[in-house]
């Protein structure tokens, strides 16, 4: 990297909401460049660190969100990221547009719950719609994250290729507006 290095390591938090962790897997596909990245950043809350909440060790610079918003817990996590991260990035098709989980949006949630837990053939005796307070309630519809909080950058793809994630992050860390050239932007 030619750009001057930042004076301190940037704090980066990541999470997967209504996603499949495929974007995180693609992120790991930057392979040995992960070591270069660790010279520049420090991970806060992330599946990589198992830190449970972001912001507990000071504010984060960059928050990376995979997946859309399908339940109440997703809303809480997303709001926590927005509160604690200066820059919020939507990573991948589900975060950007709702993606595969949003295919339920043309159905009424009540019909879905009734079909799955009450009327479907082959249900065990006494099956009912789960109502344990430990479980987050699903939202009426799945939303892309920008419909719930302000999002600063969007990185499309299902998943975005590792090279795109690398280019995007190195641009961002160096203080450049991320520019993904030909071949790096995918919508599939």
């Amino acid at each position: 990297m030619n750009a001057p290095l930042p004076r301190r390591k940037l704090r980066v938090a990541t999470t997967s909401l209504a996603g499949c962790f495929g974007c995180h897997m693609s992120f790991l596909d930057i392979d040995e460049r992960l070591l270069d990245l660790l010279e520049l950043v420090e991970f806060d809350r992330s599946p990589l660190t198992d830190i449970k909440h972001c912001g507990t060790r000071g504010p984060c610079d960059i928050g990376i969100i995979e997946g859309g918003v399908c339940n109440a817990e997703n809303v809480h996590v997303l709001q926590e990221f927005r509160r604690n991260c200066k820059i919020l990035v939507a990573l991948g098709a589900c975060a950007v547009n709702g993606g595969l989980p949003a295919q339920r949006n043309h159905l009424d949630l009540r019909d879905i719950l009734a079909t799955v837990y009450q009327t479907e053939a082959g249900l065990a005796q006494g099956t009912q719609i789960p109502n344990d307070p430990e479980l987050p309630l699903p939202l009426n519809q799945v939303h892309p994250i920008h419909e719930v909080v302000k999002v600063d950058y969007f990185l499309p793809g299902c998943p975005p290729p590792a090279d795109a994630i690398w280019k995007f992050l190195t641009d961002l860390i160096a203080g450049r507006t991320p520019q993904l050239g030909h071949g790096l932007i995918h919508y599939d």
């Binding site: 809303v75 109502n131 309630l137 939202l139 009426n140 419909e147 719930v148 302000k150």
Partner: protein, 606 residues
């Protein structure tokens, strides 16, 4: 006559010519009520076009119906000026009395009530179209009476005739509206002068197009005359769709001869033998009077073979004009979309270049000019370019018709020499008298410019504020945000859907404005409006998309508090209620614990 015969009669009248599809569809619909699938199949077979292409055209235009319609169809003009005169409340009252939801046909198939884009009756609203006939000055009493007439299935012919009266409301005349030219005089002057010198007079007059863009008419005509082609066409753009504009309606009512004569002058100058008037569907009621004016001119030797009795060998020419009726699509005011529509296709703008002057109607060199441009050209042909140039300003020769509406005592048509100040127009039309001061004027319609009081000294002229003629006035009682919201809903509805930036961008703008209207707006939404507007200006296919964000950009600059007072003070807010988004899951699980609710505002840090 049965259905089959009715369709065949229409097809025969138009020579089974697919390029006449718009008129075939309209006349078939007038005969049969709507365009059923089997009707479209029969028409496709008749004109020998693929059925999908015929259905493509039928489904593009608001005034064509591929689903059954009520016996009565009431469309309320939804321009902001109609709204300011109470159209929304009147339409609600009508729907209530008829037990109807807007847009739905009643159970008994009797009636449907809906809104439509501005019908060009802004000086005498609230206006409606009943079965595509214009009714002006709606009142609660008229709504009551109309509901009775519909319930009793009274034919439109037996409705009170004064409902259909459309006033001209000419408030100020100048050289155009005040002319006393005898039909044929301009043509006689042309024939005496010759084609070359006729063209030179129009060039010397420095006449510029009156549709708003202001291209020099003489250069357009010259380019068309010099373009290679088998034949040439003259097209008059009377698709006056810009909300707030109605001057072409008045010109075609009072001065049809002047307009037709101007078209004939153009035909003589460029060597065309066929002309079309593209009349917007909302002005359907003018069709019969225009056709009889054309018939009169044919009888007088001013149209047809050997005009004024002079044969081609003798320096004369042949020319005839036909009126083509549109079907409710704003985008057809764009000249290349207009030509597509004239050819029977969907009104999607073409790639330009090539321009219509070289590749226009049926790929032949074509001059497309505004109604007012042709009227001015006739005067120039009669009295010369130098005379015409003596009116107006150095770069804006002649006069301009303004369609004045909104908050003033005397709405209507005002003809001024170019260079008149906005303030002078406001004073002469009685703006703000007794109702509070004028806070804004929207010039040239939603795609034009919004002016605040500090700019009322500016002038109507190509040097300062170019305009197609709309002049809508808003006094202090009005909320500018409501005005803008009406405009952006208009653009989202009228986007032709061909290019993604416009199809998606206008709807995103509409959603953002609706979000702000719903009290969910934040500062980041205002930034997003600017971002989307930039994309529209850079990437849209035609002028509709380029200008759709103008009212937002102008009012965000000049009337920002109208937005800000609706914003939440947060950085960002969802457009929907987060807690309500859990309602269905709560209902199905029976939960009501703390975890079954979401705070609607960003939670404070733990």
């Amino acid at each position: 006559m049965n259905q089959h015969d009715a369709i065949q009669a229409v097809l025969a009248r138009h020579g089974n010519d697919g390029t006449r599809l718009m008129q075939i569809l309209r006349e078939t619909q007038e005969a049969l009520g709507w365009l059923a699938p089997e009707t479209l199949t029969a028409i496709a077979r008749g004109v020998n076009w693929p059925r999908a292409k015929v259905e493509g055209t039928a489904s593009f235009y608001s005034f064509f119906h591929t689903r059954p319609l009520g016996l009565y169809r009431v469309l309320w003009s939804d321009n902001i000026t109609d709204r300011m005169l109470g159209s929304v409340e009147l339409m609600q009252a009508m729907c209530q009395k008829l037990w109807l939801e807007p847009g739905r046909v009643s159970e008994d198939g009797l009636v449907s009530v809906d809104a439509t884009s501005c019908t060009g009756m802004c000086d005498q609203g609230p206006a409606v179209l009943v079965n595509y006939r214009a009714v002006t000055r709606m009142t609660p009493e008229r709504v009551d009476r109309m509901v009775e007439l519909i319930r009793s299935r009274t034919p439109l012919a037996d409705w009170p005739q004064d409902w259909f009266r459309v006033e001209d409301n000419v408030r100020r005349s100048d050289i155009l509206l005040g002319n006393d030219m005898v039909p044929g005089d301009a043509l006689r002057a042309c024939l005496a002068r010759g084609t070359e010198s006729t063209l030179n007079e129009v060039k010397a007059a420095q006449l510029r197009g009156r549709g708003g863009a202001g291209f020099t008419t003489g250069l357009k005509w010259e380019a068309c005359r010099n373009a290679p082609g088998k034949t040439r066409y003259v097209v008059c753009n009377a698709d006056e769709g810009e909300p707030g504009t109605f001057k072409d309606r008045v010109l075609l009512t009072r001065q049809p001869d002047l307009v037709f004569e101007g078209m004939t002058v153009a035909a003589y100058a460029i060597g065309a033998s066929k002309g079309y008037v593209y009349l917007r569907g909302e002005y359907r009621y003018l069709l019969e009077s225009l056709n009889s004016a054309l018939a009169r001119r044919r009888e007088a030797g001013l149209l047809g073979k050997n005009i004024l009795g002079r044969s081609g060998a003798n320096g004369g020419f042949d020319f005839d004009i036909e009126v083509h009726l549109g079907a409710g699509a704003y985008v057809c005011g764009e000249e290349s979309a207009l030509i597509e529509s004239l050819e029977g296709k969907r009104g999607v703008p073409r790639n330009r270049p090539p321009y219509p002057v070289t590749h226009g109607f049926l790929d032949q060199p074509t001059v497309v000019n505004n109604v007012e441009t042709f009227a001015a050209a006739a005067l120039i042909a009669l009295r010369g370019g130098d005379w015409y140039k003596s009116f107006g300003t150095p770069r804006s020769a002649g006069t301009k018709l303004l369609s004045v509406s909104g908050d003033c005592e005397r709405p209507g048509i005002y003809e001024y020499p170019f260079g008149v100040t906005v303030q002078q127009v406001l004073e002469e039309c009685g703006a703000g008298v007794g109702t509070g001061d004028t806070q804004a004027v929207q010039i040239s319609g939603p795609s034009g410019i919004t002016l605040g009081p500090d700019e009322f000294g500016r002038r109507i002229a190509f040097e300062d504020i170019p305009t197609a003629g709309a002049f809508m006035i808003f006094d202090l009682r009005r909320d500018i945000f409501d005005v803008v919201r009406n405009f952006i809903h208009f653009f989202a509805h009228e986007s032709c859907g061909f290019c993604t930036p416009c199809r998606v961008g206008t709807t995103l703008l509409k959603n953002l404005v609706d979000k702000i209207a719903g009290g969910h707006g934040t500062r980041s939404d205002l930034n997003e409006i600017h971002n989307i507007n930039r994309v529209l200006q850079a990437a849209a296919h035609c002028g509709l998309g380029h200008t759709a964000g103008n009212p937002l950009a102008h009012t965000l600059e000049k009337f920002r508090p109208a937005y800000e007072r609706r914003l939440k003070s947060l950085e960002f807010e969802p457009a929907f209620d987060l807690d309500a988004a859990l309602s269905q899951a709560r209902q199905m699980t029976g939960r009501d614990d703390a975890g079954a609710h979401l705070a609607n505002e960003l939670e404070t840090p733990r």
